[in-house]
Amino acid sequence: MEKGRMTSWQGISLIVMFLLGSQAVMGVSSEAGADTFLGIVTGLVMALPMVLVYARLKKLQTEKDLFDMLIWVFGRWAGKICIALLTWYALHLGALVLRNFTEFISAVTLPETPQMVTALLMGLTAVWAAKSGADVMGRWSSIYFVFVAFTLLVTVLLAMPYFDLQNLRPAAYNGIMPLINGGTSAFAMPFAETVVFLMAVSAFKREANPYRVFFGGVTLGGVILALLSLRDTLVLGGESLAKRYYPSYTAVKVISLGDFFQRFEIIVGGVFLLCGFVKAAVCLIAAARGIAKLSGIGDYRKITAPVGLLMIIFSVIVYSSMMQMFNWLPFYKYYALPFEVLLPLIVWVVAEIRAGSGKKRKAAKGVRAGNPVA
């Protein structure tokens, strides 16, 4: 179906940029205050087994994508319902990401520009990217990721003079519950959101190992997110962090190198925008593929533009205010549970059983035919 395929590194950089997407501006579970950073690490540890399941699915499905597997597992009708649910999830997630960014832009730089305009700019670019295909996105992000990583690293280094190690202590002052709470939040958003990749990316290059891509991508992304939240906490302090909407942006605002180099936040804002664009585009590909599968349209590229417009409009109406956007975050993890955990787990278990029995059947056939079992 698609000509180009992704190498491991392209897959990894795509996943890392996807993970940095909205969390880098919104802050991951920053209500945990000084323990935000520990919450992210907890979330990463929780997410790794789930990510292994995703990688295993990718390994099992080889040429098929998650949608094909759903039909294979649940049969035609139930499978289609599951596809519709996952498509909804991808579409909704893409709209949320777009909204996060238009909200961010209007909050910090362009308060008088209607959000529809920024959503259109970002959304149409995502449509273009989605039309080019996931493999082009992979190549694109493998180049931009270097820039993104470099910029973020520079902000961490430049923020070092402003660090106050006291801000991290005492660890887990309010007990273990905030950690688990923050961990599950970070698990649901952004780590387990990588499930979208199962829908959006059909194939890696033959030599690319899905375990390496998923495991490496999520770990690297998690480490970067943890580092960024460490930076924010060390600069701003836990309590102050928890009170802010865009902690990363504020933390970087503080940095100045001499009197001359200051106001780095706009570069950082741009970097986050690149990542958000990746996330929106990947979600768009996933949603378009789902809709194409449901309606029997062969090539999803034909419908990326209408689906993209749908996503843009959805992003404008999905929340009525910035407060609503942030108040929704605590509920997201419960909402995302079926899409991120339940469905993939069921598909995985059934696929393992079938693959196992298929092997057995093959082996049995082989014995009956008198061939040696490989």
């Binding site: 909050a107 910090v108 730089t109 362009l110 308060p111 008088e112 520009t113 209607p114 305009v117 700019l121 106050d164 006291q166 801000n167 202590r169 005492p170 002052y173 600069v235 701003l236 302090g237 836990g238 309590e239 102050s240 009170k243 802010r244 504020t250 605002k253 503080v254 100045s256 200051q262």
Partner: protein, 384 residues
């Protein structure tokens, strides 16, 4: 056909380019009034009075003018400023915000809220408390070198922070952190105006002490230095020591601080909490008026002990005064207890200002090392 379509797209693309490179609320540099500093006062009827200094680049020199506006909140004042301005005020370059004592006594909440919520004001804005009757007086003095007073005030504070250690100069985000954290309260630099020759100029004058409710008092320059020692924020400055054993006309030695590291460690001794403050400082001899050579009989150990005793005493008396008079934990003792002994803090934290802080025993130790004598091997005279 396909080619014609492509050509038709071209005007569309150009139209897009033209409309998208612009921005919705673009403002030309000529059309903005750059606010460089603000002074917040309260009027008799309880409203805020905001005095804004606006930089005005004219043909040859940089000048500034002041505008006053009243309002129910500070943001209200900022918008009302516009009634007198032909251009819209631009706040991102505001460097200082001076608070009158009256405003400061009511607490920092309104000030911090506007400064952190507003998207134009930056977190590097410097808060200052005026020791004069009003805050706006400080924006109406004459500058020494520049006519823009806010910029001069910002440089004075910066110089103090880096070289003379005379007042704590916390950036706005630090103030927010102080006010949010348990067991810590805010301290801000204080400024007064003085007569310098025939000019009236601004001068840094110690530190303003805040309790959780608001401004409660001021520290002198010397006390501010002791405060910085406790907070481990000494980056320079002088220690002037009296040699108690010297009979010279001017028995003082001035040491220049090169390096200082302060460690606070809480400890429970027999059930009561003791805060150990250990200050390790490297100093160099800056001026010696006693005529003694401080090696041999009066070795550098002798001078170090004199300096240590003096520093310890000044820190001790500061802590005692703040505990007794202000009951405001500007040192952050509480937050150190919280991070080192979280279990204990859960017990005593709620009562920190009901006697916990006031009755805290503080154990001060100073270790001073003279690492350099300057360019003189021994004094040129005997000082008597």
């Amino acid at each position: 056909m396909k080619k014609a379509g492509k050509i038709l797209c071209l005007p569309l693309i150009i139209a897009f380019m033209a409309s998208m490179s612009g921005c919705w609320n673009y403002r030309d540099i000529e059309d903005i009034a750059v606010a460089v500093g603000m002074a917040v006062d309260k009027t008799d009827d309880g409203a805020y009075l905001l005095t804004t200094e606006i930089a005005h680049p004219s043909d040859k020199e940089l000048k500034s003018y002041r505008i006053q506006a009243k309002g129910k909140t500070i943001f209200d004042c900022m918008r009302n400023t516009g009634e007198k301005l032909e251009n819209k005020a631009y706040w991102s370059n505001a460097q200082v915000m001076i608070l009158s004592q009256e405003v400061a006594k009511e607490g920092l909440l309104p000030v911090l809220d506007i400064a952190e919520r507003n998207r134009e004001l930056r977190p590097t804005l410097q808060l200052i408390v005026s020791r004069e009757k009003t805050a706006r007086e400080l924006l109406e003095t004459q500058g020494i070198a520049t006519s823009i007073l806010s910029a001069e005030l910002a440089s004075i504070l910066k110089n103090s922070e880096q070289n003379i250690s005379r007042a704590r100069v916390p950036a706005l985000y630090k103030v927010v952190d102080d006010i949010c954290s348990e067991g810590k309260t805010v301290s801000l630099p204080a400024v007064k105006k003085v007569q310098d020759g025939n000019k009236e100029v601004n001068e840094l004058d110690g530190t303003a002490v805040f309790s959780q409710q608001g401004l409660v008092g001021f520290l002198s320059d010397e006390e501010s230095k002791a405060l910085l020692f406790i907070q481990n924020e000494i980056r320079g400055g002088l220690l002037t020591v009296r040699d108690t054993g010297s009979a010279a006309k001017n028995p003082y030695i001035t040491l220049e601080i090169r390096n200082n590291e302060t460690i606070m460690k809480p400890e429970r001794i027999n059930g009561s909490l003791v805060m150990h403050i250990t200050m390790k400082s490297d100093v160099v001899m800056g001026e010696n008026d006693t005529g003694r050579a401080y090696d041999g009989e009066y070795g550098s150990g002798y001078l170090q002990r004199q300096a240590q005793a003096m520093l310890e005493e000044s820190v001790r008396s500061l802590v005692r005064r703040v505990q007794q008079e202000y009951n405001a934990d500007i040192f952050g003792f509480g937050s150190v207890v919280r991070s080192d002994m979280p279990a204990l803090w859960k017990e005593i934290g709620p009562d920190w200002y009901n006697g916990g802080f006031r009755n805290l025993t503080v154990n001060v130790t100073s270790q001073i090392r003279i690492i350099d004598n300057g360019l003189l091997k021994e004094p040129v005279g005997d000082g008597a």
